[in-house]
Each structure stands twice: as structure tokens, then as C-alpha cells.
Symmetry: none
Subunit: 413 residues, 2 copies
């Protein structure tokens, strides 16, 4: 095993903050191709810190710690690490000078407690902090085991990683090779279905394929390891082609392609525009489109027709139609979509009307029933879909927006 | 030591996702008053999972795991836990029936792999999953050590925690006393400002006050510990009163009161209705209102006027006004709000127009500049606000929606 991450801070154990540092470091290790098999969080507690470090030293070659390098009494990382390997602390005059200079430069008083930040275990190298007073260290308390310490402040940790730690790690030969990975994204197919279609591929070891389920969307991560980036990419390409061939049009994109962005790109390529008419999603479909930077050349906006009066006044849905079929019906969804096209002048429109719950359901129109219409230059179609009501209102709304976008994607194929 | 958290998933080690589950569970344990001293993350690897669980069983009384309960081959948690304590797996017929019913209910085919999700170690109790097919368990493989397993999907994990795990933990007597807590929610005041106003209160030990910052919103968690719930609540009441008195109208609610729900409740009490006109938020404000169950008696909907043509056609904003002042301006925001009132017949309307970025900014109208108008029976007002562009488009959109709702809340006070 190559690396582990140890995050130190009682605020993490109290749930005051999310451990964004662990995620960021994990991404960095993955991109360096350094295998990393465990993350640990402990509080500002000397004994538990010592135990965690000693256990890690039995498992990994590089331990990366964050947090506990500040000047206050509950900042214990450096001291506990030294104690874990029975090594004395030494003041580093160059660190103390740097700390004093930084504090004076900010017009801040120099507290006696800041002097603690100049202490490092005997034999440790300084891992410089260009902006803050909390320097880290690179220290091998014994052969084959090295600790890199970082402060918990994300901006300082990241700058130190990039300037010093990443180059150092690259030079250590810890990576078994170079990794390349690709995320394929699917709509309209369940995780277990996908796993069954691709069962043999999920078993293979290089490249690997791992599925992830989200709200309506399913993702597959393809990861390959080889001697060079080109060789790793070359392992991925035929696998991706095979998966796409087997799964047909369920795969809507890769990596950072959001479903809304894929739809907008297809419309942009055609020089066409889009509008929305939303009832039960209340703006959620629009928000998904507005999340895509530069959406405005394709997406014009639309109408949030939450109340029937808005469906009538702004989309021109006849009151009689609502009376005859109910607001949650294909005829009303179609009238909403056509109304949005007419009102905005867009080439295409998506309309959503449904029962998001928890109230408002009936035997005929249960919670989770949603009618989605796609109107375009070549006509308008609508179909109902029943989402499970068990995951609640927000889930139904998210799935409705995604389903609408996916239907348009398939129409534009 | 009482509890530990073990999160399972290679996606966490690859940095694909942030470990939000660990934070959420940490908050829940803190609110139950159950001490928790360590979090561990391991990948989808049988041997490392076994080692992590065996080590935890030496340290803690309750181990909470997330992830690895799905139907795919890399979902290994249940199997590895059983192996760690040399216990055979048994199929639970009631679980298998439930899984089949859920999949049929969604019109999804039943894959053979789903049957794995009906297996639990001998002696384990089911921890029911009301929505998904991945049930958890409550299992004491030996006296004084209990494992609770949860799927990694946050919504399922949270529902299972609330329905079954939290009541179970409360009954175990793991907490040193009875805790009561209350979350006060603020808009329009920064975390450090609030901390300064309440500095003395943040220092005290029972009840404690801890600030949390979110997207625009700041929260304070008040926690008291006493022999009985009534006694703990009695410690909270005067503290809450003192904080509300010091912070004035910045506190918009408590616990589960979302800002949108507070605004809708005030309008409902007046018998008045609301519409929206959104440009740069693209439906996000509507989505926040639609997230509140039962919003439809107050909120009618509105117009997503992303393109200027929609501002003109559906909201009646004069083209000349846009030409003279630009779409991001107080006059246009006011015309949008008045247009939304007129078009929908609502008593009140909120309009948002701004530069969400990353493109589209200029010296005069930089990224982060947003104009927000509130129109009501007693007139219309608009004011610009500059959000920091550094946190990106989604952040600016979220803050804009919240700011609009908060302005209306203050108008309705």
C-alpha cells in the first residue's frame, strides 16, 4: 500500500465542516497514480492521534496529514507525531523568523504561542507554507515510512501540495504506473440493469469498470493503469467503445457532460432554441439548464405554470382542457409545451405536469405520476411516467426534469 | 469510546465525491450526545474492509457503516462484515419479497444480482430501507459491539437513520445525559459577524452554541445536556431568547424552517399570492418555492425570462428600458416584477436579473452583480447586490434566490 490520509480536527467529528480536504487530496493522489487505500479522521486528541499514526505506519509508505498545525493548545499534530516515534522537537530558527515576518507584515501581534509553530521533530524537513504561519514537514521517522503534514486551511494546504509535495511524491516512484480514467454517464437505465448488461466487464481488473448510482443518473467509471498516459488511454478506448455499443443510446455523455449541457449542445449545433413550461418541477428544469454556463444562446426561458391560472393566462391552455382531462394529463402537457413555443418563439419546448406529493395524489393520479411533453418543429408528443413516490417530492422533481431532458436528447439524436 | 463511522467506497478514495455522509452522521451523533472519535474510509475491497471492522470492534461500542449495500459485485459490505466475524449469511425472505415488490413497482426488471441484497448475517436484525432496495442491519457480532449498516445514497441513509437508527441509539444509553438541541437560522448576516455579536455565548459550555456557514445562510446550533429532556429544553429557551433579541430580524426560523417556507407561511397568513420573474437564476427561485410541500395555495408560478425576448413578450418589459439601462438594472428588475404581478394576477412578485458568470461580466456590470425587485400591493422596490464571483455560478444563483426571499420576508414582517 502506498499512501493514506489522516485528517485531524474535532470540527470534523462534530460535523461542523465537510471533509473537503480528504476529497481534494484523494483526487490529487489518483491523478498522480499513487494508490491510496484508507482515510482516517481523528479529533484534536494527542493519544488517539499517536495511535492512528502508529497504525498507519504499519500499513503505508506515505502518510498525509491535514490539520492541527496552528498555534492554539488544541493543535497537536506535530507534537503527537514526534511522540509517536519518540523523537525530540527542535525549534527551527528559519521557521521562527518566517513566522515573525509574516505576522508583522499583517500588523498582527506576535503571540508566544506562535513560537510552537517553529518546532519540528529532529530530522524532519520543512514543507514550506508560502502564505500562512503553519509550515508542514516531510519526515521519515523510519526507513520506508514518510509523513507529510499540512495545515487544515484548504487554500494553504493546496498551495503547499502543488509547490512542494506533489513534485516530491512524483520523484519517489510510488506509483505502479500511470492511471487514466473516464466516467460514462447514463439516463434511462438502472444500476442493476446496467451491471447485468456489462457483468463480464465489471469483473475485469485492468481496465476496471465500476458503477455509481445517483438521482436518476447512473455512472460507470473506467480506470486503466499502464506505463504511460498514452498506453493507459489506449486501454480505455476499446472498452468505452464496447460499452457504448452494448448500451446503445442510454449513454448520454462522459466526464463533466451534464444531461442539460448535452441537450443544449445538440440544439446549438442545429441552431435551434428551447423553452420550458413547468408545473410540478416549479423551475427545477430551468435551474438545470441555467446551471450550464453559456446556456443563453439556446435556452430562452419559459413559464413556471404552477397554478392552473398561469397555465391558462401565459401558456394559453384552455380551461376546458384542464377541466376535462385534469392538469396532470397528456393533453394539458402538450398544450403547455405548444404554449411555451408560441409564447417565447422557441423551436422546441419541454413541458412537465405531475403530482410531486406528498399531498394531491388520487387513485387515478397518484403521487409520482408525471406527464412530459416534447414539442418541436415536427410536432408534439407526450407520455406519462410513474416515479416511485417513496423517495419524496425532491426526488420526483429531479427525475422529472432529467426525464424531460433525456426525451429531448433522444428526439435530437 | 462510543461510536465510530466507517464509510465504504472506492469513489471516496478516488476523490469522485465528497464524504457528505460522514459529516451528516457526525452531526447526528453530536446531536444525540454520543461521543464519536474516529472516521475511516476504505474502498470496495473485502480484505481491507474486514481489517477496518475488526480494528474498530476493539475500540468502539457502535460502528456505523455507509456504502457497499448495492446489488453489484463491488458491493461487499455485508459479506465482509459477516466474514470478519465468521458468521454465515442467510437470505431473509421478507427482504427478498420487499426488493421484488419495489422493483416491480418501478416497472424495473428484477436482476439476479438484486437477490444478494436480501442476504444478512445470521442473527442480524433488518434496518429497513423505506425507499430503496438496499436494506441495512443492526447486528451485534459479539456482546458490547454493534454494527449499523446504511447504503451510501444520502437520502436513503438519512431516512433510515431517522426512522430506525436514531431511536435505537437513543435507547442504548450511550449518551452521558439527555441532549436537546435547536438550530437557529439566519440570512443577511455573516458567520464572523454573528460570532462577534455572540462571542461570549460561543464560549459557554452548557448549553453550547456552534455556528455553521452554508450558502448564504448561517446557522447556530444550540445544544444543552441535562438529566431529562424537559430540563435540557429549559436550558435552551432563555439562550434562544437572548440570541434572538441580540440579532434582531436576521433570524428567520428554527430547525427545519426553510426560508422559502417561512415566506410562504407569511403570505398564507395574509391570504396573499406570489409570482416570480427570474433571469440569471433560471428557475432556481421557483425550485426553492416548489420544494415546499403545499406551496400551491400561495405561489402561482411565474416566468423564466432568461432571454430578453421573454422579458419583453411575457413580462411586458419595454425593449427601450433594456436598451437604456441594460437587462441587469433596477428599472428592468422592477419592470419584470410588475410584469409578473400583472401576468399572473399575484399580489406579490419577486424579480431577479444579474450576471451569474463565468462569462458576460463587464467593468460596469461585473460577474456577481444581481438586481432584485420586490413588487407588492404597496409598490415596487429594487436594489442591486454584489456577490463575490469567486465561488462560481451556482453559488451566485443560490445566493440570489435566498436574498430575494429574504427581502420579501422583511417586507412582510
Amino acid at each position: 500500500m502506498a499512501a493514506e490520509i489522516l485528517c485531524v480536527g474535532t470540527e470534523l467529528l462534530l460535523g461542523n465542516i465537510t471533509n473537503g480536504n480528504a476529497r481534494w487530496l484523494a483526487e490529487q493522489l489518483a491523478s498522480l497514480g499513487i494508490p491510496h487505500h484508507r482515510q482516517t479522521v481523528v479529533g484534536d486528541n494527542r493519544q488517539r492521534l499517536i495511535e492512528a499514526v502508529q497504525a498507519a505506519s504499519q500499513r503505508c509508505r506515505v502518510l498525509i496529514t491535514t490539520g492541527g498545525l496552528g498555534p492554539t493548545p488544541d493543535d497537536l499534530t506535530t507534537e503527537a507525531l514526534a511522540a509517536a516515534f519518540s523523537t525530540p522537537l527542535q525549534e527551527r530558527p528559519e521557521l521562527w523568523a518566517d513566522i515573525q515576518a509574516k505576522l508583522s507584515g499583517r500588523g498582527r501581534p506576535i503571540a508566544a504561542s506562535n513560537r510552537r509553530q517553529a518546532l519540528l521533530p529532529q530530522g524532519a524537513e520543512v514543507l514550506p507554507n508560502p502564505t500562512g504561519t503553519a509550515a508542514g514537514m516531510i519526515w521519515s521517522p523510519r526507513p520506508g515510512f514518510t509523513i507529510l503534514t499540512f495545515p487544515g486551511v484548504p487554500s494553504e494546504m493546496r498551495a503547499m501540495w502543488r509547490a512542494t509535495a506533489a513534485p516530491w511524491l512524483r520523484d519517489q516512484g510510488l506509483a505502479p504506473g500511470v492511471f487514466a480514467s473516464r466516467m460514462l454517464r447514463f439516463w434511462g437505465v438502472g444500476e442493476s440493469n446496467l451491471a447485468e448488461q456489462l457483468g463480464d466487464l465489471l469483473e475485469q481488473s485492468n481496465p476496471t469498470v465500476a458503477p455509481y448510482a445517483g438521482a436518476g443518473e447512473v455512472k460507470l467509471r473506467l480506470t486503466a493503469c499502464a506505463a504511460t498516459t498514452d498506453a493507459a488511454e489506449a486501454l480505455l478506448a476499446p472498452l468505452e467503445a464496447q460499452i457504448r455499443a452494448r448500451t446503445g443510446d442510454a449513454c448520454f455523455g462522459a466526464d463533466d457532460d451534464a444531461l442539460a449541457a448535452v441537450v443544449l449542445a445538440r440544439l446549438r449545433a442545429r441552431g435551434q432554441t428551447l423553452a420550458v413550461a413547468e408545473s410540478c418541477t416549479g423551475g427545477g428544469l430551468g435551474a438545470a439548464l441555467a446551471a450550464v454556463p453559456g446556456a443563453s444562446d439556446v435556452w430562452l426561458g419559459g413559464v413556471i405554470a404552477y397554478a392552473n391560472v398561469v397555465k391558462q393566462r401565459l401558456l394559453g391552455v384552455p380551461a376546458l382542457l384542464i377541466e376535462q382531462h385534469g392538469a396532470v394529463s397528456d393533453p394539458v402537457a402538450q398544450a403547455m409545451a405548444e404554449g411555451a413555443r408560441r409564447a417565447t418563439g422557441a423551436d422546441w419546448a419541454l413541458a412537465i405536469t405531475g403530482v410531486a406529493g406528498p399531498g394531491g395524489g388520487s387513485d387515478a393520479k397518484p403521487v409520482g405520476l408525471v406527464h412530459i411533453a416534447v414539442a418541436g418543429p415536427d410536432g408534439c408528443s407526450s407520455e406519462g411516467v410513474r416515479f416511485s413516490p417513496s423517495r419524496g417530492r425532491a426526488w420526483i422533481q429531479t427525475l422529472s426534469s432529467g426525464e424531460a431532458l433525456n426525451r429531448l436528447r433522444l428526439r435530437l439524436a
